[in-house]
């Protein structure tokens, strides 16, 4: 479904003399229906890797194929491909000036030219699935963090994506709201949605993933089934990282 080859990405850091080399050659392949979790210490490049997959970050080097198309090629209409890749952000990024319903229907109506009624039918169905149908005409300012993130997930799903990218979806949530968001993701994953999940929730990664990637210093330092990576890590850096996090 998604394949990357030798991704490199650097950022200019204010005050630093050299650019920060965040990705140092990441080659990875994510199959259809697969659920892949990406774990690793902060600054290891997990989020940057994820954001490269839909070109929110443009890698300086390397290529990315989505369903066989090289989306790093200059003549590619990235907007068409992004419609098929849903993304959920750490800070929700719901649209504060739009109602819950409008948050969901905006993209289907603009990008897919759906009629208002079509888009609203989909929105109603999705909202009732995550228990937010009663918030239909509210503005996001009236929602809790967990509700905002569920809305953000629904907003992405309304585009009928073929893959979902989660960028630390529970990291900005109050502890008591983590569960409700994970429950929605869990259900989505069980329904067979191809997903890439950057997360610090080790227990969740262990439970839902088909495969776990451990990233450190810009490369994939270890990968394997959750039982392998969590149960018997081979890389000393994985061992060290896992010993530091509680799960």
């Amino acid at each position: 479904m998604i394949r990357t080859e030798n991704l490199h990405k650097s950022f200019l850091v204010e005050g630093a003399s050299e650019p920060l080399h965040v990705l140092r050659g990441v080659s990875e392949s994510i199959e259809k229906g697969e659920v892949v979790s990406v774990i690793g210490p902060s600054g290891s490049g997990k989020s940057t890797f994820l954001r490269c997959l839909n070109l929110l970050e443009i890698p300086e080097e390397g290529r990315i194929w989505f369903k066989g198309t090289d989306i790093t090629a200059p003549d590619v209409d990235i907007n068409l491909h992004r419609q098929k890749m849903g993304m959920v952000f750490q800070h929700f990024n719901v649209f504060p000036h739009l109602s819950v319903a409008e948050n969901i229907t905006l993209a289907p109506m603009l990008a897919k030219k759906k009629s208002k009624k079509e888009a609203e039918d989909v929105a109603k169905e999705l909202l009732s699935r995550v228990g937010l149908l009663d918030k239909w005409s509210e503005h996001p300012a009236r929602l809790s963090g967990g509700q905002k993130q569920r809305l953000a997930i629904v907003r992405a799903l309304a585009m009928e994506p073929e893959v979902m990218l989660f960028d630390e979806p529970t990291s900005a949530l109050d502890p008591e709201m983590v569960g409700e968001v994970l429950e929605v993701i869990r259900e989505l994953v069980r329904s067979g949605m191809t997903s890439v999940i950057v997360t610090h929730e080790m227990g969740f990664a262990k439970e839902v993933s088909d495969r776990v990637l451990f990233m450190d210093e810009g490369i994939i330092a270890e990968e394997g089934k959750p039982s392998e990576v969590f149960g018997s890590p081979r890389n000393p850096r994985t061992v060290e990282f896992l010993s530091k996090v509680l799960y």
Partner: protein, 225 residues
């Protein structure tokens, strides 16, 4: 002495109310309205230049903005007043010359208001919109701009108040706004202090009303969140 002032003010107003309140205030408001509306349009153009990815537009908008904001308004009025007739192939009235100077000056300030208002919208908002497959134009029109307007409108209201006061500089060229009325009446009556007090009251009343509008608008925009 205060009673004498008061009596003189009443006397001046009964004789020259038209000069102050109709001719003067009318010209002031006209000049302000033209400046703010045309200045906003020109400001959008300069702002687009500032945010353009084309280096030349960017440098031009930046340089022009800094030049205008870095020189005194009064100087710009002088330059417009004396040099616009020489530069332009057609006749241009004194009022139009002065108005053009105000428009250009105001545009440079509001272009910065627009730019900061747009850039104050969280980058995550455009990222979310782009990740859904919206084009950069759709993202700007449907996600960034509606949120930026909330930042911009109150500042634009304040610009209205500032311009209203700054139009008094145009009296240097006897354009006919309130400050000019003051000069005219002072010349006729020799009552300097009284004329100045009248103009002070008029300006204060104008800006007071405007500030109430701006405040009301700010509150309306906040509750809309």
């Amino acid at each position: 002495m205060i009673i004498e002032y008061f009596e003189n003010i009443v006397k001046i107003m009964s004789e020259y109310w038209y000069t102050f309140l109709v001719a003067g205030v009318g010209k002031t408001l006209l000049l302000t309205a033209i400046t703010v509306s045309c200045g906003a349009v020109l400001g959008v153009i300069i702002c687009l230049g500032r945010m353009s990815r084309v280096r030349a537009f960017n440098a031009l908008a930046l340089g022009f903005g800094e030049l205008i904001r870095g020189t005194p308004m009064l100087l710009q009025l002088y330059i417009a007043y004396f040099f616009l007739p020489k530069l332009l192939p057609f006749n241009i009235s004194e009022f139009a010359r002065i108005a053009m100077a105000y428009i250009v000056n105001s545009a440079c300030y509001v272009s910065e208001v627009f730019r900061s208002g747009i850039q104050a919208v969280d980058a995550g908002q455009s990222e979310a919109a782009r990740s859904l497959g919206l084009t950069s134009w759709q993202t700007f029109m449907h996600v960034v701009l509606p949120q930026a307007i909330k930042n911009i409108l109150p500042a634009l209201g304040n610009e209205f108040v500032t311009i209203t006061k700054d139009t008094s500089l145009a009296s240097t060229f006897f354009i006919g706004e309130v400050m000019t009325s003051c000069l005219i009446v002072r010349g006729k009556t020799y009552l300097t202090m009284e004329s100045l007090i009248i103009v002070a009251i008029i300006y204060f009343c104008l800006t007071w009303v405007m500030n109430r509008f701006v405040g009301k608008m700010e509150r309306r925009l906040q509750t809309g969140d």
